[in-house]
Amino acid sequence: MGLTIRDLVNEDASLISRRCWSDKDVYALEKRGIFGKSWLFLGHESQIRAPGDFVQAFMCETPIILSRGQDGDIYANINSCSHRGLPVCRADHGNTKRFVCPYHNWSYSVEGNLMTIPQESEVVRKPDKTQLGLKRVPRVESWRGMIFGSFDEAIISLDDYLGDMRFYLDAFFDRFPAGIEFMGAPHRWVINANWKLPVENQLGDVNHGACLHSAIIPAEAQQLIEKLGHSVVTTPGHGATFRLMPENTPVDDVAWGMEAVGAIFGGDEVQNYLREIQAQARERVGDLRARMKGLTYGIYPNLSFLWSNTSFKVSHPRGPGKVEYWSWAVVPADAPDNIKKILRTNYSSFFGPAGILEQEDSEVWAQQFLGSNIDFADDRPYYYGLGLGEEKPHPDMPGLVSVTANEFYARHFFTRWKNDLQAVEGSL
């Protein structure tokens, strides 16, 4: 290709080329350099509790079946028949003993092993079925119930990969005595945007709220976000934004979920439930993290998390200009069913395909792709320099910390992105 990766991201990542967002050769390198080499989010253990349970997932554009084997272990296999390649699983989720391929009815166990070849009895030399199972994702690990897979056999452990991000994730996960669970099938929304923009947005772009969402987010709420807001990068590509509430903040102003619609419309029962969680927070996550009121998080390369509008999201690329954006409502696992049903609206009212905020985000993400796909402007890369060099270590929190207007989260993301692509560049 005519481009080299070095030309797309400058030394301090304060200038980012339009081609990063729109070029198909760059996208091919992203597949190998990033999606072939990273830990990618597959699903949550609450979705596959019983032997035989399965859900669909994707690793970039590759379809995956994530399942609980009859032995109780977790399996991830590529959803493609070893005979002619058809997907052998068509349901979003379910429970089964066998996946049967429609074309010639080869059947696979829920662990991905090839069990039967109907035509086998008619031929003399029998195929070796042990070599013909579904292709297994070579590395699968989970942390706090979150299951990840990697195509890179030699990748570092998931624990090390998440690194200090676990400190911030635990500010959420550890708040709940029984952990969290995912509700239902993900909403799968196709948006004409590049996969990196939803990621960048949730990784640290808090300040667009006051602008893009000013019709919905009250100015005072946004000012408070900016005043108390912190942006953190633990490892390039991983980041968290949150408000750190002052000591002695009233419980209703700090408790998780209290500011979202579930609590607002759900009345006393929901509010008391949320106060109860917050009452234990100090003991469970310590004083500092009990005062954290999260905004958005990102895990490299394409997993995002929303704190109040509680949701996990994955940005699955479908080419440079298309993304299949998956999102799940997440609730405390031990909440009564009626409370879970109310809390899921924290997500669905404001985010996801019907979300009153995300309909604004998705529109600008699509517009950004249009702008990135134009000609005659390659000498005008995007400006990513806000707050350059202003991030600093913090005495009490891991990572580099700054104000939310500092775009260092995006510069770090693109520095890692550049390294990952350069590592495979020239080997197309």
């Binding site: 068509r90 979003d92 509700m183 909403h187 799968r188 929304w189 669905s348 009212s349 529109e363 600008v364």
Partner: protein, 186 residues
């Protein structure tokens, strides 16, 4: 149980049509504040999400095997519907349309909907269960032109001056959500 609708007089059918055609015209004319007046204050507005389900082997040979009800994660499910809204959220959406900083509606979408197959399915003392289908054409600068298709399952309250909507469940006919937003009024 009969799958037929309730037998209605031409006048009664005409009343329902008049209500739904008026509603469609208000929405296509972007008169959302007037549309709000067609809603009961305790309205429930639901859009179930639609999933690809595993077929139940034991139901084979029966119509129930592929009933669309199995595909819906609605209000009572432990999945996640797209929308579960009351009057306040609907009002928030309606009022948002008239703010100059509602960027994603600037310029606003051009919509045209055809509502048909209006069937009265049950009638109580003052409530009616009504089904209707719609096709909604949607065009917005910067976006693809889109056709939304779906069914509305309404509970209407009859009043002296017509009807008001107490409950609406919208069953959307999508496979993947290749639609710019599910945040419209259907």
């Amino acid at each position: 149980m009969s799958t037929l609708s309730v037998e209605v007089s031409p006048e009664q059918q005409r009343q329902l049509e008049r209500f739904y055609f008026h509603e469609a015209r208000l929405l296509d004319n972007r008169q959302y504040l007037q549309w709000l007046t067609l809603l009961s204050e305790d309205v429930r507005y639901i859009i179930p999400s639609r999933v690809n389900v595993q077929v139940n082997n034991r139901a084979r040979g029966q119509e129930d095997m592929i009933s669309i009800e199995h595909e819906l994660e609605g209000e009572d499910s432990m999945g996640c519907p797209h929308r579960e809204e009351g009057y306040m959220l609907l009002m928030l959406r309606a009022e948002r349309a008239y703010k100059i900083n509602s960027w994603s509606e600037n310029p606003p979408a051009r919509t045209r909907r055809i509502v048909g197959n209006i069937e009265l399915m049950a009638q109580g003392s003052d409530t009616l269960s009504v089904l209707s289908n719609f096709h909604l054409y949607y065009a917005r600068p910067g976006s693809d032109n889109i056709l939304y298709s779906g069914q509305r399952r309404d509970t209407l309250l009859s009043q002296t001056d017509g009807f008001c909507i107490v409950r609406r469940e919208v069953v959307l006919d999508y496979a993947a959500i290749e639609l710019p937003t599910l945040g419209l009024f259907f």
